[in-house]
């Protein structure tokens, strides 16, 4: 039970002010939890930002982190999002070198996975994939042998399914 490490998605609304992210990150750091991914952006209200963080952690994580985050003056609300009751997506940009050999396979992959082509030069292209973590990783794994040069991924953004 103690070592039951799983992925925890924390979604919080915070004041959109300088220094707030440092306070939030400080809570995770001080408690010894690593942030695997982090997304921060304005919500419909420009005064409020949503921070979505993903950590792999033991069961004690939720209570400790939630309480400490709630204590921060700039944190408006904190929730842990569970798989069944929330929608979770991430996005990845994949840079791939193009040559004669991989071109047909690449075209097939783009069509098959519904990737969006963001930029296309003669010998290099950038594709966009969005989906849940598994989807995104499937695409990456498929493309890897074709010559992936670099990736940038957002980490999860998530919303509760019912408001």
């Amino acid at each position: 039970m103690k070592n039951e490490v799983k992925e925890h998605v924390i979604s919080m609304l915070v004041n959109n002010r300088p220094g707030v992210l440092a306070r939030v990150a400080g809570v995770f750091g001080r408690l010894g939890y690593n942030i695997e991914s982090l997304c921060v952006a304005e919500t419909i209200s420009p005064k409020v930002s949503r921070i979505t963080s993903v950590s792999k952690a033991d069961p004690a994580f939720t209570e400790k982190v939630k309480k400490q985050l709630n204590r921060l003056v700039d944190v408006i609300s904190v929730a842990e999002l569970e798989d069944g009751t929330s929608a979770k997506r991430e996005m990845m940009l994949i840079g791939i070198t193009i040559d004669e050999k991989n071109r047909p396979e690449l075209s097939r992959a783009i069509a098959m996975f519904g990737c969006t082509v963001i930029s296309m030069q003669e010998s290099y292209c950038i594709l966009q994939v969005a989906g849940n973590k598994g989807d995104v990783e499937t695409v990456l794994n498929f493309l890897k042998p074709l010559g992936v040069k670099d990736i940038a991924r957002t980490g999860a953004v998530a919303l509760e399914s019912e408001s």
Partner: protein, 567 residues
Amino acid sequence: MELNGAQILVRTLMEEGVDTIFGYPGGSVLDIYDQLFQSPIRHILARHEQGVTHAADGYARASGKTGVCIVTSGPGATNTITGITTAFMDSIPMVILTGQVPTQFIGTDAFQEADIIGITRPCTKHNFLVRRVDELARTIREAFYIASSGRPGPVLVDLPKDVMQARMEYQDVPAKRQARKEPVFLPDTADLEQTVAMLKEAKNPVILVGGGVLRGRASAELREFVRKVKMPVASTLMGLGSFPADDPLWLGMVGMHGMYYANMAVSNCDLLVTLGVRFSDRVTGKLSTFAPRAKIIQVDVDATSINKNVLVHLPIVSDCKSALVQLNTMLGNNGLEDLRESRKQWLDQIETWRVEGALTYTRGELIKPQMVIETLNRLTRGDAIIATEVGQNQMWTAQFYRFNEPNTFLTSGGLGTMGYGFPAAIGAQVAFPDRLVVDIAGDGSIQMNIQELATAVKHNLPVKIVILNNGYLGMVRQWQELFYEKRYSHTNISGQVPDFVKLAEAYGALGLRTADPDEVESVLKKGIEASGPVIMDFLVEPEEKVYPMVNPGAALTEMQLGRETGL
């Protein structure tokens, strides 16, 4: 009307009811000091910014008001860190105003620039950098609100020099708080009903009180509650004073140097009701053996404190006052009067422990430090504000001085800051000019902020310093004796301390000294009766140890009583 930032600041402070500020001027706060010069606010000039913060802290603890400090940028600001952290650990409401270099120089390593917002992020309840003059008044109000609401704590506001100089059309804002609403935690009625049921069921109950009772101003409600439930009351170091030590139901302090009978009662109780306690390691001893048979009800205003170290059966997130007021109503006029008989056995058992483990020490040729505190307690009838430094002096005070009233014991519990007591005593004396304020110190700790003697003399603050002078950094020496085979590595300072009598005189204070147990009382009397600040230097038994003691990591029941038979 058009005002500059410094003028708006001073106005807002006065609107917040601030009449006293502790501070130290400097380049970045010149504009603020120029306004203070012309304002009715009393400014206490300390001699070091650490002294500034501890004095504001002592003022806050003794008066219940928010302590206010002002220091300059850079070193002025960084010198406040120990004082801020001390207040943070003990949940003391403070507002610290720091000067800052002009906004256009922030981040350029300008002269006397320090990133005090970054530095104090982990040791303040919250902090603010004011970037524009139109944010100033609102920010100051918010700072005061945050500092004193919920679980109180220090709030720092960083004030760039150009913001203090900037002018704007200023309109007085209604005093109504525009600040963010902090969630108010009121106890759940069902939880309180369950509490009453558990109180009725319990055969061997104990109440454990902590600093939350004092910070939550719930001392009167606690007294009423205890009258109704007739349960013995133990306390953490931070809770001393919340319940009268002269009451028969008082058990005294628990923990590492707590009373034998208090620790035994907590370890054997079947119900432990904790009020404003955060279960520090110095209180619980070995966690797995803490109150092993007890159901625990924890009342605390800060949800973070609940289930942090000790898992409790019934958590109640509420300030102590709200919970106690409702419990007192539920218990009615007669309380649990009918349970008196069934509790008798438990109270008798506690009496047996009380006799078995009574606090004691042996008298000898030399002055025993405990005797100095006992005599002080007798002479003052427990009616003084007592500050301590940290170490043996602190523990002996907690054990031998009998605190009967709230906010009369000022000590750095969480951080354990040597050098806290004297400036804190100065702050308390500022709040209560007519009361007797005593700092109980060691010959090591008093030197950490001795420069504040100039503050006491200058402002005519008649603080009395009692030095238990054993020529050692005593508590560390005690641990070296017990756990490091008497290798007294750098703890022997005899011959390396100043002549405290001459030192007092050099500052313009009175200095008294004795090494004779028969003179303890007369020296204390003379010191107390003197009109100004006094240092009383008591040369005490050098190797006296603080007992009882629970060794680190041991269970509370495994106490060393330190009687003649040896450990």
